[in-house]
């Protein structure tokens, strides 16, 4: 029970610390932190339309965050979700504009599944195999592959094979048959949100109610014991990184098919990195990820009105995010303050557990 309480309290401490230090920085810069936070909040949740926008922002963060959490649960750090997200978007948008004759019930699933496959290959198969067989650290390989994917995307769009006619580096728009509609009663809420809810539920079930998820968690919590339990650690390395990449790919697909409609070279500014933060703050709990995803989406959705209403640079939210992540990782500090003695075990597993 205390364990569960700790799981909720520690991230809360980190959030509060981030908000307080953010307020201090704003105060030093002669802004009124209170009015800035009020503007931030009302920008994100002030009315139904704003809530819809915030949730739409949250969708790729939550999906990618779920993937990253799956990898963390298996003891792996997928730091390159950004590139897997790009790969998913590239594949989804290509299928989305290329096969105009398909009916929607084939077009959308095929585009989404192909995007997941692309993300899985990029995030899982290459880093997973190199980790399992030559011991190359997945933090480095996923990061490097991520950059390759992003440059690949830019290559396709900037005078490349996927550039739409004209001078703007962007792809053609996906056809109506591949478009996921917004909610008719709330035109700012993407239809991808419903898919996201389903994926959250499926991830939760996978992790906590199936033997596969049990094994995956066992591998992550203690690889030696998992081996002794008869589990193939190499296979779970590939599998969990693959699932992780697939979810990032799905996030890219939903962003293309349900929000942006076409790929441009300004696509994604660090969603893949924010998603790591989303997973960490939720301590890799799928349901928690919904809330932490919405929290970080609210920070960016509200930052514009924070600027308009109180003049604070929208980048302030990045500062706050950085501080929160710092204190999530350094959570020993809170224990430390209370007990005034460090615990004997390393912190690495803890952040990831």
């Amino acid at each position: 029970m205390t364990q569960r309480l700790r799981g909720v309290l520690m991230p809360l401490y980190a959030v509060v610390t981030g908000l307080i230090l953010g307020a201090v920085i704003m105060a030093v810069a002669r802004y009124n932190p209170w009015s800035a936070y009020v503007a931030l909040f009302s920008g994100a949740f002030g009315n139904l339309s704003a809530i819809g926008t915030t949730i739409t922002y949250a969708v790729p963060l939550v999906l990618t965050g779920l993937g990253i959490a799956l990898a963390f649960r298996a003891g792996l750090f997928n730091i390159g979700a950004e590139g897997q997200y790009w790969m998913g978007a590239i594949v989804a948008v290509w299928i989305g504009y290329h096969f105009a004759a398909w009916p929607w019930y084939i077009h959308i699933p095929v585009a989404a599944l192909a995007a997941m496959l692309a993300g899985a290959l990029w995030g899982g198969v290459i880093p997973g195999l190199t980790k399992a067989f030559v011991g190359a650290h997945e933090v480095i390989t996923t990061m490097m592959l991520s950059y390759i994917a992003i440059f690949f995307g830019h290559y396709l769009l900037e005078q490349g094979p996927m550039m739409a006619p004209g001078f703007i580096p962007q792809s053609p728009a996906v056809t109506a048959s591949a478009t996921i509609p917004y909610a008719p009663w709330l035109p700012t809420l993407t239809g991808g949100f419903w898919i996201t809810l389903v994926v959250i539920a499926l991830t939760h079930i996978l992790l906590f109610h199936t033997t596969l998820g049990y094994k995956l968690r066992a591998v992550g919590a203690n690889a030696a014991a998992a081996r002794y339990g008869g589990m193939n650690v190499a296979w779970f390395t590939v599998l969990s990184l693959g699932l992780s990449g697939a979810l990032a790919g799905l996030a890219g697909a939903l962003q293309m098919l349900g929000v942006e409609g076409q790929l441009s070279d300004t696509f994604s500014s660090g969603y893949g990195y924010t998603a790591i933060v989303v997973a960490l703050l939720a301590r890799n709990n799928p349901i928690g990820i919904l809330f932490s995803g919405i929290f970080f989406a609210a920070l960016s959705a509200g930052s514009q009105s924070m600027q308009i209403d109180s003049g604070v640079s929208p980048y302030m939210t990045d500062v706050i995010t950085g501080i929160i992540v710092f204190f999530v990782a350094a959570d020993r500090l809170y224990t430390y303050v209370r007990v005034r003695r460090a615990r004997p075990t390393g912190a690495v597993g803890e952040v990831r557990a």
């Binding site: 990195y273 302030m316 950085g322 501080i323 992540v325 710092f326 460090a342 952040v351």
Partner: protein, 310 residues
């Protein structure tokens, strides 16, 4: 002359390579110090950004590019102490903390930039770091334009590579730093202060990465822009790995990656996508890690917190 000859026969390409390698080599060197003592440092990007910002800010305020240089390097060093504290004292996950530092740095530099300078950006009369011409060398054909005339920080970088190599591999301090990164417990039993050397390694890493940022903001340009490091901290990480955690190797890798960048500019003229060339450093790093061209292995205790038992 053929197109290839035009591209590769032009000394400008190589001069540009050296300039492009500098903001990679400096943080790669910094990362080498940090990781050699056992602290994984993916915060080079953030250290560079604060270096770039405070370099411009102090240079503009004092009208001295040298004070800007000093301030930028120090800013990188000071920011990196937060990583050091979390990694060493709190035994936090170093990759996560490094990411936090990068996020924070991106946010705080952009915030300060907007808040202090507003929409007009940094003052146009901010001083540069000077470009130096070495008289005798500059006159030599082909070599001269490459090595004889560069920004002063390029020469400082080359000097720092040599000094770092000497410190790491030919001094007692360097021996101890490497020992701490390989086997902290063994170092502890012979009376070496593990935490102190790790702080030093991370701090030096921050200083050097900050200097790399300074080169971008008041070396190549005289202004700051939001996110101007543009992932160079991560390429530097790749250069450090590709260079097998050594100063000379880091320089070599930085030169290779710098060449790729310089080449991509040159090739744009003849219609080859710069984006494809830009993938090269990352692809090479993965190949280096998988052992296809000489396996690259990190220091044994890299990234592992050391908790002495009492």
């Amino acid at each position: 002359m053929s197109v290839v000859g035009q591209v590769f026969g032009n000394p400008e390409l190589y001069a540009s390579t050296l300039a492009m390698a500098t903001p990679l080599a400096l943080p790669a060197l910094g990362g080498t110090f940090s990781e050699r003592t056992g602290v994984v440092n993916i915060a080079m990007e953030g250290n560079m950004l604060v270096g770039a910002f405070f370099g411009v800010m102090i240079a503009a305020a004092t009208h001295s590019s040298w004070l800007g240089l000093l301030a930028g390097a120090l800013a990188g060093g000071i920011l990196s102490l937060s990583l050091a504290w979390a990694a060493i004292r709190l035994q936090a996950d170093q990759v996560v903390v490094g990411m936090a530092v990068n996020l924070f740095a991106a946010g705080i530099t952009a915030f300060l930039f907007n808040t202090i300078y507003g929409p007009n950006g940094t003052p146009p009369n901010t001083p540069f770091l000077p470009t130096v011409t070495i008289p005798g060398l500059y006159q030599i054909p082909f070599i001269g334009p490459i090595l004889g005339q560069q920004n002063v920080l390029v020469y400082i970088m080359l000097l720092l590579v040599v000094v770092s190599h000497y410190v790491l591999f030919h001094t007692t301090l360097g021996l101890r730093m490497r020992a701490v990164g390989e086997h902290p417990e063994a170092s502890d039993t012979v009376g070496i202060n593990v935490a102190r050397l790790r702080y030093l390694g991370v701090f030096l890493g921050g200083l050097l990465a900050g200097l790399g940022g300074v080169f971008l903001s008041i070396g190549l340009l005289n202004s700051f822009d939001v996110g101007m490091t543009d992932g160079r901290g991560y390429i530097a990480l790749a250069a450090m790995i590709f260079g097998k955690w050594t100063p000379l190797g880091s320089l070599g890798a930085a030169l290779l990656f710098g060449f790729a960048t310089a080449l991509s500019f040159a090739l744009q003229g003849i219609g080859i996508s710069s984006n494809l060339v830009a993938m090269l450093p990352y692809a090479l790093t993965i190949i280096a890690l998988t052992g296809l061209i000489g396996r690259s292995r990190p220091p044994a205790a890299d990234g592992i917190p050391y908790a002495p038992t009492k």
